[in-house]
Subunit: 337 residues, 4 copies
Amino acid sequence: MIVVMKQEATETDVKQMVKRIESLGLKAHVIVGTERTVIAAVGDDRKTHKESLESGPGVAEVLPILAPYKVASLELKREPTTVRAGKFVCGNGTIGVIAGPCSVETEEQILATAKAVKAAGATALRGGAFKPRTSPYSFQGLKEDGLKMLATAREATGLAVVTEVVATEDVALVARYADVLQVGARNMQNYRLLEAVGATDRPVLLKRGPSATIEELLLAAEYILNAGNPNVMLCERGIRTFETHTRFTLPLATVVYLHAKTHLPVVVDPSHGTGHTYLVGQMAAASVAAGADGLILEVHPDPASALSDGYQSMNFKQFEETMTLCRRVAEAVGKKM
Amino acid sequence: MIVVMKQEATETDVKQMVKRIESLGLKAHVIVGTERTVIAAVGDDRKTHKESLESGPGVAEVLPILAPYKVASLELKREPTTVRAGKFVCGNGTIGVIAGPCSVETEEQILATAKAVKAAGATALRGGAFKPRTSPYSFQGLKEDGLKMLATAREATGLAVVTEVVATEDVALVARYADVLQVGARNMQNYRLLEAVGATDRPVLLKRGPSATIEELLLAAEYILNAGNPNVMLCERGIRTFETHTRFTLPLATVVYLHAKTHLPVVVDPSHGTGHTYLVGQMAAASVAAGADGLILEVHPDPASALSDGYQSMNFKQFEETMTLCRRVAEAVGKKM
Amino acid sequence: MIVVMKQEATETDVKQMVKRIESLGLKAHVIVGTERTVIAAVGDDRKTHKESLESGPGVAEVLPILAPYKVASLELKREPTTVRAGKFVCGNGTIGVIAGPCSVETEEQILATAKAVKAAGATALRGGAFKPRTSPYSFQGLKEDGLKMLATAREATGLAVVTEVVATEDVALVARYADVLQVGARNMQNYRLLEAVGATDRPVLLKRGPSATIEELLLAAEYILNAGNPNVMLCERGIRTFETHTRFTLPLATVVYLHAKTHLPVVVDPSHGTGHTYLVGQMAAASVAAGADGLILEVHPDPASALSDGYQSMNFKQFEETMTLCRRVAEAVGKKM
Amino acid sequence: MIVVMKQEATETDVKQMVKRIESLGLKAHVIVGTERTVIAAVGDDRKTHKESLESGPGVAEVLPILAPYKVASLELKREPTTVRAGKFVCGNGTIGVIAGPCSVETEEQILATAKAVKAAGATALRGGAFKPRTSPYSFQGLKEDGLKMLATAREATGLAVVTEVVATEDVALVARYADVLQVGARNMQNYRLLEAVGATDRPVLLKRGPSATIEELLLAAEYILNAGNPNVMLCERGIRTFETHTRFTLPLATVVYLHAKTHLPVVVDPSHGTGHTYLVGQMAAASVAAGADGLILEVHPDPASALSDGYQSMNFKQFEETMTLCRRVAEAVGKKM
């Protein structure tokens, strides 16, 4: 950590700061500049409260040097992590495709979708049984009935089942039916839930919150990893910006950046990331070109009658075309899908 | 709801949309423009999925007319809600001041703080016992021990206790000690938690998520109100923007806007909203001038040694000066504090 | 335009609004809803001040139906515009690549770069002679000397010259040397400058401002088109968001969205859009996959010694690799480059 | 400047960086940490390209220590600057109020407004004669005719005239009529314009761009100061964020923050900052409580018929009430108005 002192900081301020740094088990190097003094605090500062230095007298700013996450870091584990769940493989040259409706609505709907997305090349089925909805008056999901329908669809197709869990008290239930547990964007910093899914043996798809920094995303992953579960996929699903022509802004540089920081695979969700069906296909292709290890896509037999997210869901034909396009791009960048 | 059709929409598209609108129990008015057709869907559209219209063929855009929240709405209840907890009063001309440390650390710390903030005019004591922390390696709070210390401080001072609850499984425990339950920004859309605090008889302080829209905030409040708890205070604590010179951006127009939309009282948190002690006092005064019904402020006996948030906490003297300033401004705008 | 009246609006308010709408040459349709009245104003509302309706008594909101831009609109001209400047072709299946240093520094630098980028497949050379710099103390460009060096490089390689113009008084001078005039992000709403470049016969590369909406971008293009210059390329170069791990956030959905709204070709600038050399190559590939009609890339013989933007510039080898990658992706999406 | 090296940086990388730092006239201090090496570059680094270090081999990050602006800095000049133009005084305990219509429309309109705002306590009159408008089809202002009307209103009332200048070629003309030159938000980084107003003897009101950082704002001021004009007022007028319930987000902490960084007075524009008349009055009061040295407010005899910005303009009565409220708050915080 680098502690920048204010121009008007006194010698006593500097001495106090040195003492405090040393009391944290770090070494202090004082550098007297022409206009200011800076103090370098050297050592493993991950457990140090940056804040506890910031509040010291005469301090202008504290600049951290080390990233605060550890187990997720590429500095700890150099080789990329590959996440597997049955035939679903995500990472290290293979692009895992998760497709299906926003919500499980009926057995027919989920079965038809499972068959269609499998035929087009998906290896996992998504579908919400527990739905976190902005309004208390919106459809909240079929709950355990929905989970059973997902399991039926798995039996029929061999696809891995990916579904969201919204509360610690549901983790055991959902884990009984699901192959991959999804933690939604709204729950990215629900730490109890992160610890609970971290205690299962199911891979986790962790979605980035719409205003989470990458550091916060990696620290959320760290909660899961720290609880003993090494199989975490990070999912970029769009951030909240001033833009209104898309539902969220999908920042694909996240994919490239994460690959430079972490060994965990990165999945992109262009359905939520754009919020409009006609934008999804090309943004899926762009995600693959940017290096995504996986895609998660909303597909519905009849989007116009979907109970949720119809405006961003593809029908079977659109999904098939998207898969064809993405497969060509995957090949161009040296991956298989 | 207003459905705007695309320029190239066919007559069949329009007819289908009319049918769909009618199937939702709404009345359709078709207006054929020079360049486009728009269809007005008239009726109570709160339970209608805006989305289920958006995905129709030939639709360019769907523009909602009614706000999706209801119980929170000023259109339902004209007179402002006043929230009370012991001597703490918030709303309708009285500014409730909640002050205390970010985390409860020791009994001495919380007792000393309680006495100091009471002397300066606060009517409630804040203090975190369950701390949601970005990093799994940070101090996570004293849990039940912290709650007990808060109760001790209440007995000593008569201040109402405001403390955060982070999980449904803790609600009963926290409600046993606390006078007001705080739902933190990270949990604003943790709907299970909202329902759980909605089922208690404790007033709730609901913090706005850093990227939540006002509509999302009011819908989160609606979850609590809908569960039977009418005592909700909304808290503006800063949003995430491109600005980096403050920890968050504190948009005080929220206060004025909310007063035009809802009867619920509005509290402002300038400590988190700015993230730097030297900015807090004047922003507290500005919050009062903007019409805030309450303030929540971080105060610590020795901010420089705080286990969390020291850089944005005031010491006792700074708090006292802030109270003096705010009281003068409150008087200027015709309120008491 | 749809005028939504407040719940408490009186009949007189409605009548006044109808009158006002008619006085603007539009037709008014009144729809009395169960909770509110809305009035549809039908006709060409592009020249109407949305604002002049919003300020009427009893008005809750005014929702525009038509986009405010016209000449740029796909509704006016269905076939995509292709912009050409010598061998540089941008649009309609051909990806134009503009490459070169941030600033022209010396004749050797620009010549060497021109030759290298041409060999790798670029068709245009970029290089700043007039540099708008955030600080008055930064290098401001070589001005006319820089323009001459660019012209020399064009003679040597046949590449089209793309360079920025920052002030109306420089337009004639820059147009004498340049094949394409660039309007930078900071000047996107410098309307005099837009009119001035609109009055030349040079194609214009118009960069999106970092907080400009797409509508504002298209209206800025409209200024140029309206002044008589049909050859406008729109350039996405990243927007300002809360993200700090990249210099800007590069929202590639812009490309797909713009193709659905306008006939003008869309260029992407992944150098500014990411701000770090190691992110540029894959984001260039992603841009191509998203459907970009052109790329603009910063290339420098020795980025580490560049006078500006070295941290986001590629060296010749990196550029060559990027071109190889992008060409493969272009082929995968059915384009040539 | 602090140069943080990558974990994998070699000794050669470090040596090269030291050499480069020294070649820039700075002193290098190497600190070998347990996980990384950091190098402190000590000296006046304002003219150093942070970038030219960032692009060096093995560099992870470069952290600047000194702010890049100088003349604007409080470190250079401790006592606050007071800007005066006739009876208009802004700074050091006196709040200058600038009020008037968005656009000058007719002589009657501007005269009536000038008289009304003067009666209510304003000391300067605003009014746009050259209007930068988002759409080429919107009203563009009365130009010199408008300036003449402003001058007439000054003669009649003694108010100082504040009006926008949008192009270097208009500076002389506008300066002939205006007492204060306004540089609008869209032109905050139009450096030629900044230099041109910097060469006049007129005070300048410099508006913050909607996505400008504070550092960029202060560097824009630095262009004016550096050109020889010491009378610059900084104006916060709202930033672009994800919020849509207000036109912009008005971050009042800017006022407090700027007072800690610069001696220049800070003006707030709650009309643009909120975009809705009913929000303006209380946000003006909040601005005063936050410490604003001035206010700029849109006032129109009949906002409903204004040619621009009617939805955010106050009528005379609303302005008078706002002034009464603000005056009380000013007194509460120890200022006069």
